[in-house]
Subunit: 262 residues, 4 copies
C-alpha cells in the first residue's frame, strides 16, 4: 500500500514532495501597498469574487524569507525547509466580505510550490531576495529603526519582474489592518483529454486558514515597487499608479486545512 | 473571464505555468537497464498494477536532455523550454498487459514539473546532467562510436542520488525493445481538509500517450548505475543487484492527452 | 608540500578549482556580429590596444554550450565539465595587427571562471542559454537547414542582459573570417593594500592560444541582438546600431598556454 | 582609461566583479570545533606555517549567512550582496604565533568568490545552508535559548560535502577564545606558460585584517559535523575524530587590506 500525502506515493511515505500537515511557517516579510488601475486588478478575479467597491485597485506585494517545518523538526534541514516567496494580494469581495485574492506567486523551492498548489496558491518558480537584519549589523545591514532601508527583488525565468524598496518610519502598534482580510485561493487541476483542456477536474474557491498566527517587530513606512513586463508573465499588467504604505515584520503561523469559500 | 490551462489563470492566458497541449519534445537520452530485488520494485506499484511475472525487478533508469515547444516556437526561449530529467521505469502488468510504472522522476524546470503532474508523473526538482556529443568533439567529447563513454548524475536537495556510466558497443537497428511498453501514470491531487489527507480528490491511473514518436542514433552497450540513500528519498530502495544493457539515443514525440488506464 | 595549479592548494592536488592544462573544449556556438558606436567600443580597450581603423565599432557576441575535459576523461563528470558562456569580442589593433578584445564574459561554472581568470578573460557568473539541435528534432527543435531559427539569452544577478536570435541561411564553406583574429586578454590580480588598490600586482596583456582548433557544421545567416542596461553592468553601453551576420557552428580546441602580447 | 578594482576593467568602473574596499560584512554564523588526525591537519599547511604544538589537529568549521556592503548601500541589492559561506580553519603557528589557516572555503556568490581570491581565501562555489531564527518563531524556528538546535549543510558540484548540527547550551559571555587567532591566507595567481605551471606569479602569505569586528548573541553548546568524500575534493581528509564545542553568534566587520604575514 503506497503512502504519502502528495506524489510521489511510495512504500515508506518519505519521498512525497509535500508531507501531510501540520505545516508550520516562520519568516520575515517586506511589503508594499499600492494601487493599480481598478480594471487591471478586477481582471485578475476568478468567478466567485467581485471587486471590493471601496478599495478596487488596491494591491499588497509581499516578499517573504520563509522557514518551514512539519512536526519532526524539519527546520533542521535548511536546504529543503527554507525558501523565498513573492506574491501580490488584490482586494476583492466574497459575497460582500472583504477578502484578498492572490493572482501571482513565486517561490524558489519545489516543496513549497507543491504545498502551495494544494492550498490553491498558483505558484511558479522564481528567485526572490530581500535585505536582512542581523544582531550585529555593522555597516552592512539596516537595523529596525526609523529611516532603515530594505531592498527586494524577484525574477523568474531569468527575467527581472519586480523590484521594491521600503523605508521604515515607526513601529506599528496595531498591525491588524495588514492582516484583516482572509485570502481566497483557487484549487485547480486540469484534465489532459483532447477537447477538455478547459474543463478542470478540480476548480474550487477555498479560504486559506492561518492558525496560531503571530507577528513581531512590525514597522510601517514608505514603500515603492516597480514591475517589469516579460513574455509569459502578466504581473506587470498590475502596474502601480499610486504607492501606499511600506512595511516590514516577522510572522509565523500553521496550516492544516483550507475551507470552502462561502 | 480568466484564461489558462494551468494556474495561474490570468486575463490574457499567458502567465500559466503550463499552456494547453500540444506539447512537443526533442531530446537525448542515456539509459541503464538493471534488476533490483523484485519485492523492492513491487513495493512501488500502485493499486491497479501488478508485478510482471516474467520480469519483476527489472527497472530502466533514464537521463534526458530535453527541449520543449508548444505550437508557437517556444524552443526559441531556451530558458523556459530546455530542461534535464531523470526517472526510473519499473516493469509491471496492467490487467495482464506488460507496462512501465514511473515511481520517481526529477526535473530542473518548473514548467516541466507542472506538465508532468498533469500527466501523472510524480515530479520533484533535481539537478540532472549527462555527457554530450558535439559535431566537433576534439578531446572533450565522445563520438557515437564503439567504446564511447558517457557519464550522468542526478541530485536533489543538494544530495547526490544517482550516478551512471554507459559505454557504447554497437548501433541498435531495432530499438523497439526499449519502447514497447506503455507507461502508466497516476494523476493525483490531495484534499486539504483535516481527517481527509488520505482521500485525494484526483486519483486515477492513466496511460501516457506519445504521438509521432521518433528515435535516431540508437546505440546499445554496457551500463552501470549507483543510487545513494538520502533523507526524504526512496530511490535507493531500488538498489541494483544486476546490470542489464546501457544505451543512448535521440528521441522526439508529442503529447496531447492521457487515456484511462484499462 | 601542497599541490595544485590553482587554489585551493592541497595535500593530494585534487581540490584545486582548476587543474593544470591541457584544457580541452568542445561546444556549440551561436554568434551575432554587430556594430556599436565606435567610441563605445574604443572606450573598452585596455592600454596597449588601439582601435582597428578599418572596423572600429565592430563587435561579435557569442553564446557557447561548452564541454570541458582535461587529460583524464573529465567529460564523464558533466556537473563540473559542462557550462554555458556568453562573451563579446571587440575589434582592435595590437601594434597594427587586427585582433579581438573581450571586455565582458559570463559563465555558469566556477571552474570555467577560474580557468578564465588565469587566461585573462574577465569572467563573471551568469546564466546563458541557447536553442539546441537534436538528431531526432520533431517539432521541438530546429535542424541545420535554411530558415532554422535559434534563440539565446544571458542574465547575471537576476537581470536579463542580452537576448539574441539567429536565422540560418546557408552553410559557410570558409569560416576563416570568423576565426582570423587572435584574442588579446588581460591577466590581472589586484593588491589589497590601502593606497594601492589601483596598482595591480599582475597586469599583463596576453595572446590567447587555441591549439588544434576545429570547426564543423558552420552556417551563416541573419542575426539580431539586444542588450539591457542594469546596475553593475556596462555591456549595454555597447548597444548595437547596425546588425551584421548571424552564425552557428560547432567548435573544439585545446589550451595549454597564453603568450606575451607583442 | 579603464577603471575598476578587479576585472572586468571598464569605462565607467561599475562592471568589476568586486569593487575596491571598504568591504563591510554582517552575518550569522554556526560553528563546530573538532579534532582531526594531526597529520591530516598538518598536511594542509602551506610553506611558512607550522603545526601548533599545543593544538595540532584542532579545526573549526563555520557556516555563515552573510550580507555584504560597500560604502554605497549595496545591501539594498540583496541578489548581489547576500551569500552563504562554509569554511574550515586549521590551528597553526606563524613563527611561533598561534594563527588559523583556511585550506577550504565555499560560497554561493561570484562577487564574494572574487573578493576572497584577492584576500587569499581559496574559494570555490558551493551551496551552503543553516537553520535561521526569526523574531516570530512559532513552531518552524528555534529561539536563542538552551536546547535550541540548528542544522547546516554544504554541497559543491552536486555532492554533499558537510553536514553539521549545533545545540545551544548557554550564552557565551566572553567569545574571545573563538576570535583570538588571526587568519593567515595565501594570495596566489598561477602562470599559464608551458613548463611554468608550478611557478605562480603571485604566491604570498598574508594576514587577514578584520576591522571594527563586533559580535552579538554568542551562544555555545554541543556540536557535531560529518564530512563526505567526493571526487575533486579533499575536505573529507579532515575527518573529525573528536568533537569540541558548538556555537552560534552574529558578527560584523570591515575589510580594507591584508598585511604581509610575518
Amino acid at each position: 500500500m503506497l503512502q504519502g500525502y502528495t506524489v510521489p506515493l511510495s512504500p515508506r511515505g518519505e519521498a512525497n514532495i509535500a508531507s501531510a500537515p501540520p505545516w508550520h511557517y516562520a519568516g520575515d516579510v517586506i511589503g508594499v501597498e499600492f494601487w493599480t488601475e481598478p480594471e487591471a486588478a478586477e481582471a485578475t478575479l476568478p468567478e466567485g469574487l467581485t471587486p471590493d467597491p471601496d478599495t478596487s485597485g488596491r494591491v499588497v506585494a509581499l516578499y517573504f524569507d520563509w522557514q518551514f517545518s512539519g512536526d519532526h523538526d524539519e527546520y533542521l534541514d535548511p536546504v529543503r525547509s527554507q525558501y523565498h516567496e513573492f506574491f501580490v494580494l488584490v482586494d476583492a469581495h466574497l459575497k460582500g466580505e472583504p477578502v484578498s485574492w492572490c493572482p501571482y506567486i513565486y517561490v524558489d523551492n519545489d516543496h513549497a510550490l507543491a504545498r502551495g498548489w494544494v492550498q490553491g496558491f498558483p505558484k511558479k518558480m522564481g528567485a526572490v531576495h530581500q535585505t536582512r537584519v542581523f544582531a550585529s549589523p555593522g555597516k552592512a545591514a539596516p537595523t529596525l529603526s526609523q529611516g532603515a532601508r530594505f531592498g527586494a527583488s524577484m525574477s523568474s525565468g531569468e527575467r527581472t519582474l519586480a523590484e521594491a524598496r521600503v523605508t521604515l518610519e515607526q513601529p506599528m502598534s496595531d498591525p491588524s489592518p495588514l492582516l484583516s482580510r482572509d485570502t481566497i485561493n483557487l484549487r485547480y487541476f486540469p484534465r489532459l483529454s483532447v477537447g477538455q483542456y478547459d474543463r478542470p477536474v478540480v476548480h474550487e474557491l477555498v479560504r486559506m486558514i492561518a492558525e496560531d498566527q503571530q507577528v513581531a517587530d512590525v514597522w510601517s513606512g514608505a514603500g515603492e515597487i516597480t514591475f517589469f513586463p516579460a513574455v509569459g508573465e502578466e504581473l506587470a499588467d498590475l502596474a502601480p499608479v499610486r504607492m501606499g504604505m511600506g512595511f516590514r515584520m516577522s510572522m509565523s503561523y500553521t496550516v492544516t486545512e483550507v475551507r470552502e469559500a462561502r
